[in-house]
């Protein structure tokens, strides 16, 4: 029936035209969106959340990858089986596109598994409020390892990262401070890594504390006091040696007989760990003397150490 065919064809043509128009519109929209998204790669999209701490380190991927390869190639070749690319991907997946106040330990589980490695006994060195000194010490004396001398800590040291639900998923402008929210990518990472570092410790373990700090050398609110102390395994750890360091010429706020140290000792002993405390452990004090050589505490090395 020619009339019906005619109108059917018109309808078909209309549908076709509309279809093409829709496709074109979709294409234009896609192009516009794509250019907006790629253009705004390192700019803050207006929807990105704003925080008080510094943002993700620029070139995070290159830094992390480079450090990973550097660690396993140049420093610890026995870890040759580690896959740095996979490790980077698992770090990225832990936080990208996520609200940075909702990070969980599950988010970091794959990374922790890929990057953890055994720590030789008697080498674990914990620390609290002695960051500068303790790392200068492990750099000169390879007999001890802090968390930042393990692969995980080495990659993450002094680096920051956080995500955001809007593209590109990484916030380079700002990241949450702990006071803004506790479950932020950095805090969750370090808490988890510290716990694992403590769990892995065996034999004699060491801890460097600061006896010149007013608030006390040992604080329950520190990572050492709240996490590491409670994750040492008494079946693996034979002794805890405390090195209580004072700033040269600085206040002697606390010593081994001090209040907070006594508290630490009782916590450890209650966990069945043997504890020894030493004021101003000499080898570390020598390091302090490098920059204050004429101080009365700085006699040149004698073999009595």
């Amino acid at each position: 029936m020619p009339f019906q065919q005619g109108s059917a064809r018109t309808r078909q043509r209309t549908v076709l035209l509309v279809g093409i128009a829709v496709l074109l519109a979709a294409l234009v929209l896609a192009v516009v969106l794509a250019s907006l998204l790629t253009h705004g790669k390192h700019e803050v999209s207006p929807k990105m959340l704003k925080w008080k701490d510094r943002g993700t380190t620029k070139n995070l991927q290159e830094v992390i990858l480079g450090r990973c390869y550097n660690y396993i190639t140049a420093q610890y070749p026995e870890l040759g089986d580690k896959d740095c690319l996979k490790i980077w991907e698992s770090l990225k997946d832990a936080f990208i596109y996520k609200n940075p106040c909702n990070i969980t330990t599950e988010d970091y589980q794959p990374l922790m598994e890929l990057a953890s490695h055994p720590i030789p006994c008697n080498k674990s060195l914990f620390w609290s409020k002695t960051g500068d000194l303790v790392h200068r010490y492990t750099k000169s004396n390879q007999n001890f390892l802090t968390l930042e001398d393990t692969l995980l800590g080495y990659m993450a040291d002094r680096v920051s990262w956080c995500g955001d639900p809007s593209a590109p998923g990484i916030n380079y402008e700002s990241c949450p401070k702990r006071s803004e929210c506790e479950s932020n990518p950095g805090s969750v990472f370090w808490k988890m890594a510290s716990k694992m570092f403590a769990e892995a410790a065996c034999g004699v373990v060491q801890v460097m504390l600061n006896g010149s700090v007013e608030a006390g050398a040992f604080r329950s609110s520190s990572i050492f006091g709240s996490i590491e102390v409670f994750n040492l395994n008494p079946d693996k750890v034979s002794e805890v040696h405390i090195w209580l360091m004072h700033d040269l010429g600085g206040p002697q706020s606390e010593s081994c007989s001090g209040h907070s140290i006594k508290r630490l000792i009782s916590i450890l002993e209650e966990r069945n760990l043997k504890v020894i405390c030493e004021d101003n452990y000499r080898p570390v004090q020598l390091l302090q003397c490098v920059h204050n050589p004429d101080h009365t505490d700085c006699r040149l090395c004698t073999n009595s150490t």
Binding site: N59, V63, G66, T73, R136, P293, L300
Partner: protein
Amino acid sequence: KWKGEGTTQNLESIVIGRCYDYIRIVNPAVGEKNCSQIWEAFKNAFINKDPCSILPKDYELFINLSLHTIPPNKSLFWENNQLLVNSFAARGRRYMSLGDTLFGFFGDFLNWCGQADSPGLDYESCPTTTECENNAVESFWRMASITYAQHSSGVIHVLLNGSAAGGAYPQPGFFADFEIPNLQKEKISQIVIWVVDDIEGPDIDSCGNHTVKTLETRLKTLGYDVTCSDNYKSVMFLLCLD
């Protein structure tokens, strides 16, 4: 084929990572650098060439791209005591040794070489300096040392090992052959030499004696104000750590 170790595995990732690590974290004061470009310039110095034909000036573009100011009074030259120097310099906070500059940080403790007629790196073996002087790594450090000396100013420090066999001031040596000749006299106010013996090591050399005397004389003849001290206390403490 060659007697030396091959190129360090994952060299590209390591050095690009170090470049960004340096400009973002270690020393952000140097400002923005194009790390991919720096890697390309570095690589082009030695790939596709006979690994015994690499000259210091092949690294010229690499140096130009990675150069930055060395603060006055912070230069620390050394011979035969690299680990000690690294500890003492405290990653650039107290002194800036060659290894604390971007161009030095880039290559420290790594190894590399290419091959003729191939754009690839040789991971099997690389020539040692005994096999041929003009190899990729030797020429890199020669160029880096020359540059470091040219850009040093103020009071410069030299840390020498008084227990080293053959003397504290080695000749031939990097300091003797590439650094001293490239110091810019008009920018330098004083040269301070520290001769430090290994703990319980032999006291083979010291200020005013043997090779150190040769060094002092050479520098004074060149017109520099030179002082020298033995077993500088600060550095001794670092040695006591072992």
